[in-house]
């Protein structure tokens, strides 16, 4: 047993230099941008997209010789941490970054992660830019927590209205997984549909379901005009769309909540078979500015960008964050940078003009809003992505 003790002590002792070694070498000015998100498990692609966006933002600045902070020019690098889509993973990540003196974090991605990281990051003095669609993704009591893109409460009302105008349906079923990643979006979607006079109901399935035939049958029993796959993961949404069409459902399929349009089109067997379909694009992807970003990424990074639009707001928020750091003139004081962030004009090279929103929904104006897009396929023909202004109904 004594050897057991020795082993423990050795392990503990061995752990310290490893961790402490990681502390930043303070020669020159080096700015580390953290990225927290799922890099394993079913939500990996979102974490990867976020990391790519942050890396692109860093590379842009480095190309110009570094970020001017006070008198120095800082080289920006990105470090990432796999938070596994869990609250404790994200909290551990925030602490890991704190130990490396990383004060600015792009991410986390999911609702559990946002829940887990808020108090810890606040305590550690770290700014976060979460993409979670949770109803409490940002809160007044956590002034360092920012939201990277507009949430369902912002875009669902205008999109629901636009969808009703385009397709004229009277009833809809919103379907999503039964955890926070599903309920916090589908319930907001349903509310938005109801607000424009559509009869909306919600269906939640067990996360991890692979065969949706029974859920589809249940939805069809309600005989709706349309089905909204909300924030179901891309693979789930694709399977549902396919099984809906196989079951003879000819109504409109919508997707207000997450990416995955390509998968859905593929699963159903092409745009013609999909018929009528509308979806949220978190940015207006057909804009020339946005389209240019993919080219710029390839040119600067030497490889194509990940095929996931979540990268775009990550680029925008990295740029804005870096700008704020420069303006605040500090790479340590998160509160000062947050102050600068709030005061900066929201304007992005590729996305155009945006604004800080969120007061009405979260009670704090720290949501980075750019116009979103509504993609449309009408009668089996791709119509493209229309820009939708989400300016908060004040």
């Amino acid at each position: 047993m004594n050897a057991g003790i020795r082993f423990c002590l050795l392990a503990t002792v061995a752990a310290f230099p490893f961790v402490l070694d990681a502390a930043p070498a303070n020669s020159g000015c080096e700015l580390k941008l953290g990225m927290i998100g799922p890099l394993s498990g079913a939500a990996t692609s979102w974490g990867v997209a976020l990391r790519s966006g942050a890396e692109f933002g860093a590379a842009e600045v480095n190309k110009t010789g570094g970020l001017p902070v006070g008198a120095e020019k800082c080289k920006v690098s990105v470090v990432s941490y796999d938070s596994k889509y869990t609250a404790d993973g994200a909290a551990a990540g925030a602490n890991y970054f704190a130990s490396q003196n990383v004060k600015f974090i792009i991410g986390p991605v999911g609702s559990p992660e946002a829940t887990g990281i808020k108090p810890v990051a606040q305590r550690n003095g770290q700014i976060t830019f979460s993409t979670a669609y949770a109803k409490n993704a940002i809160e007044p009591q956590f002034p360092l927590a920012f939201h990277e893109l507009s949430g369902p409460a912002t875009w669902a009302p205008p999109l629901a209205k636009a969808a009703k105008e385009k397709f004229g349906f009277q009833s809809i079923v919103c379907v999503a997984p039964n955890d926070q990643g599903g309920t916090d979006i589908a319930s907001v979607d349903a509310e938005a549909y109801r607000a424009v006079g559509i009869k909306a109901s919600e269906e939640y399935y067990q996360r991890g379901t692979t065969n949706f035939a029974p859920i589809i049958q249940r939805i069809l029993n309600q005989n709706p005009d349309a089905v909204d796959t909300a924030s179901s993961p891309p693979g789930d949404a694709a399977t549902m769309a396919k099984q809906l069409r196989e079951a003879g459902f000819n109504g409109v399929i919508g997707r207000l909540g997450g990416p995955g349009t390509a998968e859905i089109i593929r699963a159903v067997g092409g745009v013609e078979k999909l018929g009528n379909f509308y979806w949220l694009e978190i940015v207006s992807t057909d804009d020339p500015g946005v389209k240019a970003l993919w080219e710029e990424y390839k040119e600067l990074m030497g490889q194509p960008a990940p095929d996931n639009t979540l990268m775009i707001p990550a680029v925008a928020s990295s740029r804005l964050l870096l700008k704020a750091i420069s303006k605040a003139g500090t790479i340590d004081d998160a509160a000062k940078v947050a102050e600068a962030l709030r005061s900066l004009p929201v304007e992005d090279k590729n996305l155009g003009k945006g604004e800080w929103t969120g007061q009405k929904i979260y009670g704090i104006n720290q949501e980075l809003s750019f116009p979103v897009g509504m993609g449309l396929i009408i009668n089996g023909k791709t119509v493209g992505v229309q820009k939708i202004d989400t300016v908060e109904a004040r």
Partner: protein
């Protein structure tokens, strides 16, 4: 003679485990590195959860119900802290007792199952509890969980910093270690007999269900303490913290550490949680590294880390004595 030797050996393991808790309690004075504090906090939580697995393993029962009991303890503690009182003794007591009390009737139903049947039923129980959390939004906050939990207090002192949260975890882990050690010591012979040959034990008059129920109830309480500790670390009781598949992690900690002694859960948790945190900064390949580590440990260290160390130790020290052999075999059983 054998008994005395065994007693002394087990004692050493227990004292070491207790000392580790004390060291963990003292870490805030040794370092302010937040990552170190956070990792040690996670290790403490994992150790308590692995104790829960360990107690059941002593009776050759593999329990996947740990996340379920953690959730009960965590949510019960959160509710009490929010609406009742934040005294750490009160909150800790509730988070031990609630799962323990629920485990009693549940145990009577499922403890006659053995082997993989027990594994499956406990796993299903974890799934059911997760779904119940989703389906009871008024009590548990549904899929959003309970947030805004006030920091725990003790003697007018509030524990809100990372260091203080770690110290609470260390205190709870100390209690968990004492409870586990006391139970395993007191029930050593019955547990070992149930583990090896239930039929024989029963025919000698051992009231098996009584010990199984006792073990199950205590294991549930230990998991409850782990759940509370997790909730206090995150200041949130969230269903995603208690996913049914996370039971595989706790089982892995307990088995990789070795089921021979109470140090097993602590050693397994320390190694694997530490490694998991380091791997997490390696991005999407972290599960792969973790998998390789498990394969290596199982392949090299038969009987878990403590088991392998123990085997080496007794082989080196007492080559000829059948005494050492007898204790070794007993411990590795």
């Amino acid at each position: 003679m054998t008994g005395r030797r065994r007693g002394r050996l087990v004692g050493a393991a227990e004292i070491t485990a207790l000392l580790l808790c004390v060291v963990a309690f003292a870490t805030p004075w040794l370092t302010h590195n937040l990552f170190v504090l956070s990792v040690i906090n996670q290790i403490l939580i994992a150790t308590m959860a692995a104790y829960s697995v360990h107690v059941m393993l002593r009776m050759n029962l593999l329990s996947f119900a740990v996340p379920a009991f953690m959730a009960m303890g965590g949510f019960a503690g959160a509710l009490v802290a929010k609406h009742g009182g934040t005294n750490v003794l009160l909150v800790g007591g509730v988070s031990f007792l609630v799962p323990a009390l629920i485990a009693l009737p549940l145990g009577i139903l499922i403890l006659r199952l053995r082997g993989v049947y027990f594994v499956l039923v406990t796993y299903i129980f974890s799934e059911i509890l997760q779904l119940l959390l989703f389906e009871t939004p008024h009590l548990t906050g549904g899929s959003n969980g309970i947030s805004g939990i006030p920091a725990a207090t003790f003697l007018a002192q509030s524990f809100s910093s990372s260091a203080a949260v770690l110290q609470i975890a260390a205190g709870l882990a100390l209690v968990a270690t004492v409870v586990t050690a006391a139970l395993c010591q007191w029930c050593e012979q019955p547990f070992a007999a149930i583990d090896e040959n239930e039929t024989l034990a029963a025919s000698l008059g051992l009231v098996i269900w009584r010990f199984k129920a006792l073990g199950f109830v205590v294991a549930a309480g230990l998991a409850g303490l782990a759940g509370l500790s997790l909730v206090l670390m995150l200041l949130t009781a969230h269903p995603s913290s208690f996913s049914p598949l996370s039971s595989v992690n706790y089982i892995t900690y307990a088995i990789v550490g070795g089921r021979a002694s109470i140090l097993g859960p602590a050693v397994g948790s320390a190694l694997l949680v530490f490694a998991g945190n380091i791997f997490s900064s390696q991005g999407e390949y972290s599960p792969g590294f973790f998998g390789v580590l498990i394969l290596l440990v199982v392949f090299i260290a038969r009987g878990g880390i403590t088991g392998a160390v123990h085997t080496l130790w007794s082989r080196r020290r007492k080559q000829p004595a059948s005494l050492a052999a007898s204790t070794k075999l007993q411990d590795l059983a």
